[in-house]
Symmetry: C2
Subunit: 471 residues, 2 copies
């Protein structure tokens, strides 16, 4: 097995090493594309299953819209095409012929979906319309990084239409809260929910909400967004409904998405020098069994391991028995790198006592346990909770509150979130970015009621805002 | 509600009407593309869940490869590019610039996957490699038909690499058998498994197996295929492994796929004049409850219906209570059109007896039952089984055995499978197609041991082969 660069030495190289050596993903032949290998894709499947349940529980229905969008559709919403034009991939030839109009490979599906919404929505009876789709989208990014930012990514995009602004506002918050709770409960990620500043909002939205995750290199990752589209698309796509009084009105819309990039957050928020540390809820393997074989009793131990693996599977755990011919030491490193939450070592001694030697990957502590349903469930829950509390602690310890630009620069260089009073202004934000490379991550919802003097311009009525270097 | 054309009057119009009025799908803005609406997509989700389980049980792992394939990759296998070149969609511009090499939007993923296989496979320890992916593919079809044949479709594609020819042969059969069993058990479809003739096989395969479904208009539908790729791609992509003796060898490969087109089979094999008839296993709604409200007792009945719906959901049934303000007659038609297997009508009388008036959609028979777990389960199983036996009966009754071209033509015009002894010959097949529009569907595996004189050329040692008009 190749060694990985310890995270403490070089986070960037550590990341590339982990992605490759844990067999999460591989580079595709086209620049900026990625291949999800089975171990990485299994994490995505678990994320999908968990989030899909929450999406459906909210009354949202899945559907599928085409990959190809006529170029003219994107042009209908002025801000939308301005934002996306530089990132588009265009199909110009099909079936051996040049097409009359180039087709856009979807970068997001607002325009093609809302073309249908205009047909499907006639009266207030058709509202709210709440549609989601799991698909692939393409954005021609200049700087790419495996999983975090690529030419093509997998995601879900939710799109809703409502009769009133108040309902749409509520849905924007419901969706971003759903994401926040989902990554907290299933991915053990602590995140900050807030509003994007004007220069960071979605092209075509009135406002954008986001949840931001702080990674172990001190950079922030925008991990999912929920947008208030207001009536911007409705007016351009003519999505109208007859209200109860028989008056024709435009609908109010939202859209929200979470992508495979969240796997990048998972890697970089929890990983350590030895590799991944996966929360049990999304770990493709929750328990790995490593037999410790002495020559004379090999069969007995292996049989016991097989039986135990079968029993644990029947209980609903995701278990892998590593019966390969490699040494125990090699296996230990390998499964630690892959972030498996619990390891059971089983040799002759364990057979006799009915206990196994267990290793908790999050703490790297060893202890003896009986491999029973309740005990394993409890340990997995503890690991799940500990990873969250570690990540929360790290985030809070790397959140700096400052009130002037000099301290701001120093804090940004230390890494982490820098909390300042800031009066949203695109020009100022560009200036700050140029001087420090930091960007406004969000205006946290939890401190919306506070206001003060802008740390940079000294304007009053500025709001508490988080800045950070970001991916 | 709009009326649908009865199937017995005009199958083509009936199909388009059902797809639209049952809200399965809608046309996309680009010619030949399709939008899966929630009801149609829910069927696909149930198909995916069921088939994915069988795929994983066979030891195949899911992954995800990029949408874009360098054009040069497709050219590496000569037959492959010859077969697919006329159907390709090409991306020529990305990020505002013309690309140096056009990218192909994947029509299938052999070439991009096998580029990785060459890196991942080093020794016999890495074999068999068994990978599947669920994704979207694009083929620029000239004639399109909603769900059955479009520019873009959803599918799964399995790709395996083996050390020996025998193992690969076995895998080809395992996959096609898995499909056959899956559609029999979950989609109530009777299908014929066999080998494709030379002119119908996959571009790049040594041989192709297929399962063919006979639709109610007498046309056949190729519903899934499994290909023996032999070493054709391995040689061109240099996929080699060290065997146990340390000798470098090319792997043996297979690929197999099943797509959303199977939903077309589901519609056209089971539907009747009133619309869809869905097998319970893949019905998004298995039981619809229609309250029959008299003015004075409305609340009591509605409450009972709500409680019953809740209880049935808790039992694991997919249930919908139609509490809308439409008339019962309207609701009956609507849910019959949508093919819901069981309907419960509940009014004051039903409250008093604790029984409900149930309608079996497959037979349109009414009876009283107690809405208990065992009873509902039994009825759903009966519907599931009856749809299969009806479809089998229809298929067998529309399979004609003939031994000369005159009878062949007559049988083809009646519709159905026509069984003949036929000596595989591409030129002859083209001639038959021109004269009758029928194509060779498959050489059934069940009668491989039989041989006779070719019905057209009189050659000896011809094999029993099914012909039909096909989609």
């Amino acid at each position: 097995m190749s060694q990985i660069t310890p995270r403490s030495q070089n986070q960037a190289r550590w990341y590339q090493d982990v992605v490759r050596e844990a067999q999460l993903a591989d580079y595709g032949p086209v620049r900026g594309t990625i291949i999800y290998r089975p171990y990485g894709y299994a994490i995505w499947e678990l994320i999908q299953a968990g989030l899909d349940k929450r999406i459906k529980a909210a009354g949202v229905q899945n559907s599928y819209f085409p990959l190809f969008i006529p170029y003219s559709f994107l042009e209908k919403e002025k801000q939308h095409i301005e934002g996306f034009a530089p990132e588009l991939a265009l199909v110009t030839h099909g079936g051996g012929k040049k097409l009359e109009e180039p087709l856009v490979v979807r970068p997001t599906s607002e325009t093609i979906m809302y073309h249908s919404f205009a047909k499907w929505i006639q009266s207030y009876n058709d509202l709210p319309l709440m549609i989601n789709q799991w698909n692939n989208v393409v954005r021609w990014e200049k700087r790419t990084l495996p999983i975090i930012r690529g030419l093509e990514f997998l995601w879900q995009e939710g799109h809703t239409a409502h009769a009133t602004k108040a309902e749409a506002d509520k849905e924007v918050i419901r969706a971003i809260t759903m994401y926040h709770d989902f990554v907290r409960d299933q991915l053990s990620l602590y995140s900050i929910v807030g509003y994007k500043t004007e220069s960071e909002k979605f092209s075509g939205a009135d406002y954008t909400t986001t949840f931001e995750v702080l990674l172990r290199d001190g950079k922030a990752l925008q991990s999912g967004t929920s947008h208030m589209l207001a009536q911007n698309f409705a007016r351009n796509f003519n999505i109208q409904f007859l209200d109860k009084q028989g008056k024709l009105k435009y609908v109010w819309q939202t859209s929200w998405g979470l992508s495979t990039r969240i796997i990048g957050a998972l890697i970089m928020a929890h990983g350590d020098d030895k590799g991944l540390r996966l929360p049990p809820e999304v770990a493709p393997i929750q328990v790995v069994i490593v037999p410790i074989l002495k020559q004379d009793k090999s069969n007995e131990v292996l049989n016991y391991c097989r039986q135990l693996a079968g029993r644990l599977k029947d209980m609903g755990f995701r278990v892998h028995l590593d019966a390969s011919s490699k040494t125990p030491g090699f296996k230990f490193n390998y499964w630690e790198l892959k972030g498996v939450p619990l390891r059971f070592e089983i040799g002759q001694a364990e057979l006799e006592t009915g206990e196994v030697t267990a290793l908790r990957r999050d703490l790297m502590t060893k202890f003896k346990i009986k491999p029973k349903f309740d005990i394993i469930t409890e340990f997995l829950a503890k690991i799940q909770a500990n990873l969250l509390s570690e990540h929360k602690k790290y985030t809070l310890e790397h959140t700096w509150e400052v009130d002037n630009f000099k301290d701001f620069k120093q804090a940004i260089d230390k890494g982490g979130f820098v909390k300042v009073f800031y009066a949203d202004d695109a020009k100022v934000e560009a200036e700050i970015k140029e001087k420090t490379t930091a960007t406004a991550r969000c205006i946290p919802m939890s401190s919306l009621d506070q206001s003060g003097r802008d740390f940079y311009t000294q304007k009053t009525k500025a709001k508490l805002t988080l800045f950070a270097k970001a991916y």
